[in-house]
């Protein structure tokens, strides 16, 4: 059975094993959004045969909105916060953070560590409408990307194209960027609603999915963005996060403010595979285990 949300990404060297057949969830801990921002906690969880245990927790001065693991060090991860800063943490140390990166002028809602070999870069997306590029060993950002006309909700590296990332925004667009230029490469008016999440297909480098407040998921072939290549309907409230499967080319998972997580295969005539209901709490985050395949 799934754990209580919110959830976050599993590290590249996930601790422990998980029985096959069901997705793995991982808590990133409560964050305090909106009305009262007091503090946020990052929870590091360890999983073994007897269950999940709290390995360590870290406190920050403000709410934490996202977390991403390093690709070159199993101890290191980055969070982003309501106070506009990013934090670099070391799970092998009891105190922290190691570094704080403060440049954004509003909440940072998304962070992602680059997935392609040979680069160690972090991209952050903020409600200040900018995306910033960071080298975790350098104190100042490498670059600031402007263009979005509203808050940014999601910034995600391409798993295949080095230096390429996608962003989604309250301005209702999906944008594709390249670190070699500061201007946007592609603008997709993907929905007529705020787009809270996007993700790249792991087996087709041209395919990106968006999830929006209009309750729909749309797939976009970046070679031709005139219309979506698929649209998945079923959620009854805004899509909060969407993720493509690490194992299956046409499988993805979404979570929504309708208290459900849904699994889809967009290549099937009836694409909805499963609906998982949570009756008590919002499902705010989602990621898929790299250890065990999800249901096909």
């Amino acid at each position: 059975t799934p754990l209580a949300p919110p959830t976050g990404p599993t590290g590249p060297t996930t601790l422990g094993r998980r029985s096959a057949g069901s997705p793995q969830y991982r808590l990133i801990g409560p964050h305090s959004p909106q009305a009262v921002r007091c503090s946020g906690t990052l929870l590091i969880l360890d999983q073994n045969e007897s269950g999940l245990r709290l390995f360590r927790s870290f406190d920050w001065n403000d709410g934490l909105f996202d977390v991403t693991w390093s690709e070159n060090n199993e101890h290191v991860l980055v969070t982003c916060s309501g106070d506009g800063s990013l934090q670099l943490w070391d799970t092998a140390r009891a105190t922290g953070p190691l570094q704080v990166f403060k440049e954004h002028t509003q909440e940072v809602y998304s962070v992602d560590w680059s997935q392609t070999r040979g680069e160690q870069l972090v991209v952050s997306g903020s409600w200040d409408q900018t995306v910033k590029l960071w080298d975790p060993t350098v104190g100042k950002s490498l670059c600031t990307f402007r263009g979005h006309e509203s808050v940014i909700y999601s910034t995600i590296w391409s798993p295949h194209i080095p230096g390429c990332f996608a962003s989604s925004s309250g301005d209702q667009t999906l944008r594709i960027w390249d670190v070699k230029t500061t201007g946007v490469r592609i603008v997709v008016p993907a929905h007529q609603a705020e787009i809270l999440s996007c993700d790249w297909c792991k087996y087709n480098e041209n395919l990106v999915v968006t999830g929006a407040v209009d309750c729909s998921l749309r797939g976009w072939d970046l070679r031709n963005v005139q219309q979506p290549v698929f649209e998945l309907l079923g959620h009854t409230y805004a899509i909060r996060r969407v993720k493509f499967s690490p194992f299956h080319a046409s499988v993805l998972a979404s979570c929504s403010y309708d208290f459900t997580v849904r699994f889809w295969n967009f290549s099937k005539p009836d694409p909805l595979l499963e609906t998982v209901e949570h009756h008590t709490e919002f499902t705010c985050g989602l990621d898929l285990s790299l250890q065990s395949p999800t249901q096909g």
């Binding site: 590249p12 060297t13 909106q34 009305a35 009262v36 007091c38 503090s39 920050w60 001065n61 403000d62 690709e71 070159n72 060090n73 199993e74 101890h75 290191v76 934090q87 670099l88 070391d90 092998a92 140390r93 105190t95 922290g96 953070p97 190691l98 570094q99 509003q106 909440e107 070999r117 409600w127 909700y153 295949h160 194209i161 080095p162 230096g163 390429c164 309250g170 070699k180 490469r185 592609i186 603008v187 792991k202 087996y203 087709n204 480098e205 041209n206 797939g219 970046l222 070679r223 963005v225 005139q226 219309q227 979506p228 290549v229 698929f230 649209e231 290549s267 099937k268 005539p269 694409p271």
Partner: protein
């Protein structure tokens, strides 16, 4: 989702005589938050960077499932520049995909812009 425009750093500091057990009504609390003022009884954390070096990594980076599938026969394509500009916004109604099964070709091709 509109961000609440309050700044927790601004506003007067709580008076030293203010009890940490002070209670406020919900209306008072909302007003304090909207004005960016300090909230009575709220503990403020002062977490700061330690500037230490990260603990040395001992594990090699494991390939992702999709990297194992592609292997060395399909090296990562380079991001190609080109003359194609921004996508024109579609006019009128975007049509929904008629056949969900006919999606994108799964043969990867280089993304050209």
């Amino acid at each position: 989702m509109e961000p609440l425009a309050c700044r927790s750093e601004s506003g007067p500091a709580p008076s030293p005589a203010e009890s940490t057990q002070a209670s406020v009504t919900l209306a008072q609390l909302l007003q304090l938050v909207q004005q960016g003022q300090e909230l009575p009884g709220l503990e403020r954390r002062q977490v700061a960077a330690t500037l230490d070096e990260p603990t040395a990594s001992r594990l090699p980076r494991r390939p992702k499932p999709w990297e194992a599938a592609r292997s060395a026969e399909h090296p990562a394509p380079q991001f190609q520049t080109g003359d194609r500009g921004l996508a024109d916004p579609p006019s009128g109604q975007r049509s929904r995909l008629e056949e969900p099964g006919s999606a994108v070709s799964e043969t990867p091709g280089p993304l050209q812009l």
